[in-house]
């Protein structure tokens, strides 16, 4: 089995390096095909491992080589394929294979085609390291690696100021969180003496709660960055500057879920500190509604999907925080499929619309882009959580978990968010595919994407539809290592009321959205209507003014302070002191050199003055000595 592990892990790396060879060359198809094939290999290997695990095989655990060893610290490159990581591996390899193939078409006309695949495969490799490592340090390698690749891919079109800015923002925001993560790792090391999961989890049992809480908090700070939880969420929306396949892979399906993975992976820790878990859940619920609210009014197709991702991440954290780790993981998986699909569909639309992102400038695209419309609609249905698509099962499980654990506030927030989700999802679908053909105003002639792109998307579609039915198989598998709590609402009546109620609520929201945004002559928001001038609308439109606040109260002061430090402190205080000391010495020379005025009389006088000065001292001392007995 180890060979499959290595195959799964390193195939993307080979693909990335292969593509990297061509980066300075002009577009070569082979640079896209080979990585895709290698990823497929990786996918196959992962599948074999999955089968192995599903058949009750022992987790595959390898230690490739030593990485760092000093003092008591010992960090190997160790990889483990167990129930959790194999799930992640499957998600990663499936989505990335699809995205790779899709990208061959999507990036067809880009001159940096080769570079794109180098980065993309490198990302997959990093992500696999992240999920497969058997220790926190290895996880951190992947953690930073995906950050790097995300930087490279967000800023892929680096000639755009906004893209490079967004890339840096993402990287730096992640770094802030990574510091927390790093501190968490330090805490783990100094309290357990190791970073290996099995060893660490064993040792956690003997630690006091305060330490554990500290560890839990700091690790979660890391997770917050990667998974763009409030208040470190702003980068995710800006990250949409990257090519759409990137958004699909990284900013929807895989990287952003790394935080969830971390919490799930550390479930033994968080199980011991339920208070922290509750906080995580609350934050997750908050982010869910918070992000969803911003998606309601946004006019950028990709951003809307990004907010939806954010919102769904909130769901996952809510689940994980409540101890429903398997549910979180399950939602993660399901979400990866339908959200990737949604993004890829959006990519198709963008292609058709010449990179236009404003859904208000589209409409009626369903006529020319049937396949895309179907896929996106289904994906939205799944997102909205309608039976029987994947979203229904996973989201419902989360709601149930919240309900069963008696966290009704969380439950109701999440429930309400489900409605919002349905609304904005179908707002989007409606605006893009239905209603008036507003794009004609802009002289665009949309066309459907390449066939093979659509074919490439189909596995995701399939999974988005059927993933829910795999729930029980999955449950049996992961609960081998995750807490196997089943969330059953004991009263059947309540269960049915809740389920049907939820479904109804969602359907109503969908219908409302559909109606509101397909009516002919619907007013396009242009800043004049009354709703647009309400406080709430503005608040939502400006993302609660958080980016503005960050810019105003963090970025600008930092820049100003930096300049101040440089010009005022470094140059005018620190350096000036040094130069000042030198200057004082030099100037005192300049000032006193007149003592040597070249006149012999002056020289003689100096001699006499010197002598007299000595004499005065002598007399003082002499008198003191002589009358010492008198004086005292």
């Amino acid at each position: 089995m180890e060979i499959y592990l290595y195959l799964a892990l390193f195939s993307p790396l080979v693909g990335s390096l292969f593509a990297a060879l061509f980066t300075t060359k002009s577009k070569t198809l082979v640079a896209g095909v080979v990585p895709s094939l290698l990823l497929f290999t990786s996918f196959v290997s992962s599948s074999i491992l999955l089968v192995h695990i599903l058949n009750g095989g022992a987790p595959v655990h390898v230690e490739m080589m030593t990485w760092m060893a000093t003092g008591d610290l010992y960090i190997p490159f160790g990889f483990v394929v167990d129930q959790v990581s194999v799930t992640m591996m499957m998600v990663v390899t499936i989505v990335s294979t699809v995205v790779h193939v899709y990208s061959i078409g999507y990036m067809d006309h880009d001159k940096s085609f080769n570079r794109f695949f180098a980065w993309l495969s490198a990302f997959v490799f990093s992500m696999l390291i992240l999920v497969m490592s058997d220790n926190y340090a290895g996880l951190f390698i992947g953690w930073e690696g995906v950050g790097l690749c995300s930087w490279g891919l967000i800023g892929f079109w680096f000639h755009k100021e906004s893209a490079s800015w967004a890339a840096n923002e993402a990287f730096i925001m992640n770094r802030i969180a990574d510091l927390g993560m790093l501190i968490g790792i330090f805490l783990v090391y100094w309290n357990t003496g190791s970073l290996q999961y099995d060893h660490v989890f064993e040792a956690f049992k003997g630690l006091d709660v305060d330490t554990l809480a500290l560890i839990g908090i700091f690790l979660f700070i890391g997770a917050m960055g990667k998974s763009a939880q409030f208040p470190l969420h702003t980068w995710l929306a800006d990250a949409m500057e990257g090519p759409t396949p990137v958004s699909a892979l990284i900013h929807a399906a895989t990287m952003v879920t790394a935080g969830v993975y971390l919490v799930v992976r550390s479930n033994e820790l968080y199980s011991l500190i339920p208070e922290i878990g509750l906080f995580i859940a609350s934050l997750g619920a908050f982010v869910a509604i918070f992000a969803a609210s911003m998606a309601l009014v946004n006019r950028d197709m990709k951003r809307i999907i990004a907010y939806s991702t954010l919102s769904q991440l909130g769901y996952m954290f809510a689940a994980a925080g409540l101890g429903a780790y398997w549910v979180a993981l399950f939602h993660l998986m399901a979400h990866a499929f339908f959200k990737a699909l949604l993004f890829l569909g959006a990519g198709n639309v963008m292609h058709a619309m010449h990179d236009e992102l404003d859904p208000f400038k589209m409409g009626g695209l369903g006529k020319t882009m049937k396949a895309t419309m179907v896929m996106m609609t289904l994906a939205s249905v799944a997102l909205a959580g309608l039976f029987p698509l994947a979203g229904f099962f996973s989201k419902d499980a989360i709601l149930e978990a919240a309900f069963v654990e008696h966290h009704y506030v969380i439950y109701s927030v999440l429930l309400f968010t489900a409605g919002l989700t349905a609304f904005y999802s179908f707002r989007l679908v409606a605006l893009i595919f239905h209603g008036e053909e507003r794009y004609t105003l802009f002289g665009i002639h949309p066309h459907e994407a390449y066939k093979f792109m659509l074919v490439a998307m189909s596995p995701l579609l399939l999974l988005a539809i059927i993933a829910g039915s795999l729930k029980m198989t999955y449950f049996e598998m992961v609960t081998a290592i995750l807490p196997d709590i089943e969330y059953h609402i004991h009263s059947h009546v309540t269960f049915w009321i809740m389920t049907i109620g939820t479904q109804l609520f969602v359907v109503i929201a969908i219908l409302y959205a559909y109606k509101k945004y397909t009516t002919i002559g619907m007013n396009v928001p242009d800043g004049t209507s009354e709703t647009e001038n309400t406080f709430m609308y503005k608040l939502l439109k400006n993302q609660y003014y958080i980016p503005y606040a960050y810019d105003e109260y963090i970025v600008k002061p930092y820049t100003k302070l930096s300049a101040l430090f440089w010009t005022e402190i470094d140059q005018k205080v620190v350096d000036a002191t040094v130069d000042g000391i030198a200057g004082v010495i030099y100037d005192s020379g300049e000032q006193t050199r007149d003592m040597q005025d070249g006149n012999l009389s002056t020289m003689l006088r100096w001699m006499v003055i010197g002598t007299i000065a000595l004499l005065i001292l002598a007399v003082m001392f002499g008198l003191t000595a002589r009358y010492a007995h008198v004086l005292g």
Partner: protein, 517 residues
């Protein structure tokens, strides 16, 4: 040969430099490269012969110099100095090989060879005075390099560099004389041998004073805040090769000296002053990173980034445990490679455009993709991305220091944030966006000669990032020895507690978890 490898390593370049005067101007470059290669090969031989399993000094040589006063020419390497020596041979070789067209190239190469002598000398000296000799002597070639081949402010910069370090090290000399005197008082014999000094157990207040005397010399060299202002000038004005060597090797002298002198000689003072020094280091990290962010000149950015990174090295050093010290030594090497490469990279663009202002560039990634790639790699290494060489060092340094203080580590850890900020900003300004300036439209990408220097550095950057073991293992051994020594000779209870004995692991984890809360 084996017995005298260190002397050969030290004096071979100097002798070769003297012979270099006789070489014809046209062939001097080849000559320099040849000498550099031989020296590097010798240093590799040193590594090859080095017994990684031994913690103590190896290849010891001893020749009496002023025996009645306890000054002897003593050399030796341990895991800590070994790699810095190899690195200095390597960087010098690469520096000479990548030397661009310069006036008076012969003088330059001869000077570089002399500089190499002093660098190897500093890192292999085991006698205080011999150390001091090479330490001071290294200023002269550097003074000349900055002053003769530098920018418009070169004279100011070179004099500032020289005098500042000179002043600091004179105070250090006084400290050394005190050390020898205390040794004399204790044993009736003069000795400047560092290993002899290790055996001296001093009362705490004396340790404090001596520590401060040494500190001034080292701190200016490192340079630590607020003694750092010479560095931006020196880097800003120095020619590429000067900056490379300055950043890669010369700055390491200070941090190396902390480990070689301050820690084992004054364990109690080290513990007592750990917090203030850590605070200075944190100021270095954050403040200089912010200053770096405000720079307009890309070379200044790298220069200030050096200071910032040196802060992390200091933090690691004063972790006073094996993890931290190993990490800081490793980071010295890492920073040597990475900052050397960064300065070389800045030199590449300076050669083409004769400006280092970032506003003059933009969109270079379009015209110079290879250059952008290598720069990006080094940028990421500088930022401390895992699997690059810097991360290992930074991680271990911070990890080590976490045992001593949580809050301070948290603050020091902002290095990874602020570092990313200025580095990414600089990268964005230079490489991203559209090519706005007409002059930049047809810039040639890195040529073969530049690649000759940059590719090995890139390989090392990644290789040691992934597989640091061959370097980390000997470092670890020696670091353990130093920590053990410090633990054994410390006299105050606090020091005993703060410096964990590597032999006594059970006790370590106990005290650490107590100390942590």
């Amino acid at each position: 040969m084996v017995d005298h490898i260190l002397s050969i390593l030290i004096f071979f370049p100097a002798l070769a430099g003297m012979f270099g005067f006789m070489i014809n101007k046209d062939s001097i470059r080849a000559y320099g490269v040849a000498v550099g290669v031989i020296e590097f090969a010798l240093s590799l031989l040193l590594w090859f012969w080095f017994d990684g399993g031994v913690a103590g000094m190896q290849f010891m040589e001893q020749i009496p110099l002023l025996p009645s006063f306890g000054i002897n020419y003593i050399l030796g390497v341990d895991g800590i100095s070994l790699f810095i020596i190899v690195l200095s041979a390597f960087i010098t070789m690469i520096g000479i090989a990548s030397l661009t067209e310069t006036p008076n190239v012969k003088n330059m190469i001869v000077t570089l060879l002399f500089l190499q002598m002093t660098m190897v000398g500093v890192f292999s000296a085991l006698d205080g005075i011999v150390f001091y000799v090479f330490w001071e002597l290294s200023l002269v070639p550097m003074l000349y390099i900055i002053g003769a081949w530098g920018g418009p402010l070169r004279i100011y910069a070179s004099i500032k560099f020289f005098l500042y370090t000179f002043a600091g090290s004179l105070v250090m000399l006084v400290g050394m004389l005190f050390m020898a005197y205390f040794y004399y008082q204790a044993t009736g014999e003069w000795s400047f041998a560092i290993l002899d000094w290790y055996r001296l157990i001093l009362p705490e207040n004396l340790q404090l004073w001596l520590f401060l005397a040494f500190f001034l010399g080292f701190a200016i060299k490192v340079p630590m805040f607020p003694f750092h202002t010479w560095l931006p000038y020196a880097h800003g004005q120095a020619p590429t090769i000067g900056s490379v060597i300055l950043a890669a090797i010369l700055l390491k002298m200070g941090t190396y000296a902390f480990i070689r002198f301050s820690l084992p000689m004054f364990p109690d003072a080290s513990v007592a002053l750990m917090t203030p020094i850590a605070i200075i280091a944190i100021i270095m990290i954050i403040y200089t990173a912010m200053v770096a962010f405000a720079q307009k000149d890309v070379k200044q950015v790298v220069a200030y980034s050096s200071i910032s990174h040196m802060g992390v090295i200091i933090i690691g050093t004063f972790a006073l445990n094996v993890e931290g010290i190993s990490g800081s030594v490793f980071l010295m090497i890492a920073h040597g490679v990475v900052s050397g490469a960064l300065f070389l990279l800045v030199g590449v663009i300076y050669d083409r455009r004769h400006t280092k202002l970032m506003s003059e560039f933009g969109g270079l990634a379009h015209v110079m993709p290879r250059y952008a790639t290598i720069f990006g790699l080094m940028l990421m290494a500088s930022v401390g991305l895992p699997l690059t060489i810097n991360f290992v060092g930074e991680f271990l340094s911070l990890l080590g220091f976490y045992q001593q203080s949580h809050i301070l580590t948290l603050l020091a850890g902002t290095a990874i944030i602020v570092g990313a900020i200025y580095m990414l900003a600089a990268y964005k300004k230079m490489f991203f966006g559209d090519v706005t300036k007409e002059e930049n439209k047809n810039l040639p990408d890195v040529n073969k000669r530049e690649l000759l220097a940059l590719i090995p550095l890139s390989i090392i950057t990644i290789w040691l990032g992934i597989y640091p073991k061959p370097v980390l293992e000997p470092i670890n051994k020696s670091a353990e020895a130093i920590v053990q020594l410090m633990h054994d000779k410390s006299i105050t209870d606090e020091a005993k507690m703060r410096i964990p004995s590597p032999l006594n692991k059970a006790q370590t984890s106990q005290t650490s978890s107590e100390g942590a809360h």
